[in-house]
Amino acid sequence: MELYLPWWITGTALSVITLGFYIALNRPLGVSGSWARIVLWKNDKVIKEAEAPFQNNPKLFEDALMAATIEEFGEETVLEYMQSRHKSDDTTPVKPLTRSVSPNRSPWTAHLVFLIMLVLGGMLGAYLRGDLHIQATLGELHTSLFGSGIGSLMMLFFGGIMVGFGTQMAGGCTSGHGLSGFSRLAPASIIATITFFGTAIAFSTAAHYLG
């Protein structure tokens, strides 16, 4: 079945997409994060309201930081530190605050657009392959592994819950841990990618040969 493009074309395209995303949006690609931002859409409002006074008045932010520092370490320690800074010739310039409280956040609606475009992208891909039509069946291999009918729909739903819960718990999915984390050699991402690929292979292989 030569329905699909060769691996070296799609592999290259995926890499161009990951790197392009990183260059254009200054953050690593991660689809599970977009799901979280949409589910947590109400937080955007809360954060915006909490940030509003600081956005207009940076001095207020410095005061709040100082108050929090005093609360954490005690007034004496803070005073001592300030005096020691004055006494010694510590002239290291303090880095000016250039960013708002939460850098690198895009609005949740941008993440929603991203997920919707993934759906449309799937539509475009299927159209280009000449295979865009409503399909109710899941294919022979799926049926032989996990059955068909209403039971298999339930299985898709519960499997979906595991995908949703698991990726949030692991802090990333195939794109975040796999495409962008693994290749930046983040140990957590390498461990995660090997674990989810390994588990999926072990699970399906067991279902195939034992089931």
């Binding site: 990951t18 539509m123 475009l124 891909g125 392959r129 291999l141 819960f165 957590a188």
Partner: protein
């Protein structure tokens, strides 16, 4: 506006690429998981390999933040692995399948939405281990 443009562009390109690679085809992905479809594994391997070189060049002059290992990394990945095997879908593939007209993916999408919601509910009250949001580290 620029942000929306890029999210749209990369979403569309990624969806189309995943679809044309066959990663959203139940038969293809299951045959990968029973190790009878190595070319599909090569799609992923090649992309990671090229990204390694790309990120090395891009992060020459600046430090890029990396994900941290948390209590949830391994157990979460095991859960995700089983879910991926059962549904043939990861968080992006479920949406691509839906776009291709595979209507059963509606059940997967509903499940993912419920799973994400459960996790976020759980971390905000009972279980105190927030593992962060992917892409915002």
């Amino acid at each position: 506006m620029r942000t929306y443009f890029y999210y749209s562009l990369f979403g569309l390109a990624m969806g189309a690429t995943l679809s044309m690679a066959g990663l959203s085809d139940y038969t293809q992905i299951h045959s990968l998981f029973i190790l009878e479809n190595i070319p599909l594994l090569l799609v992923f391997a090649l992309a990671i390999g090229m990204n390694m070189v790309g990120f090395m060049i891009l992060s020459r002059n600046k430090k890029t933040p990396k994900k941290k290992l948390t209590k949830g990394t391994i157990s979460g990945s095991i859960l995700f692995g089983i879910g991926w095997a059962l549904t043939g879908a990861c968080p992006s593939i479920a949406l691509v399948q839906l776009g291709e007209g595979k209507i059963a993916a509606l059940a997967t999408v509903a499940g993912i939405l419920a799973g994400v919601w459960f996790y976020r509910r759980a971390t905000s009250s009972a279980l105190k281990f927030d593992t962060g949001i992917c892409g915002e580290e």
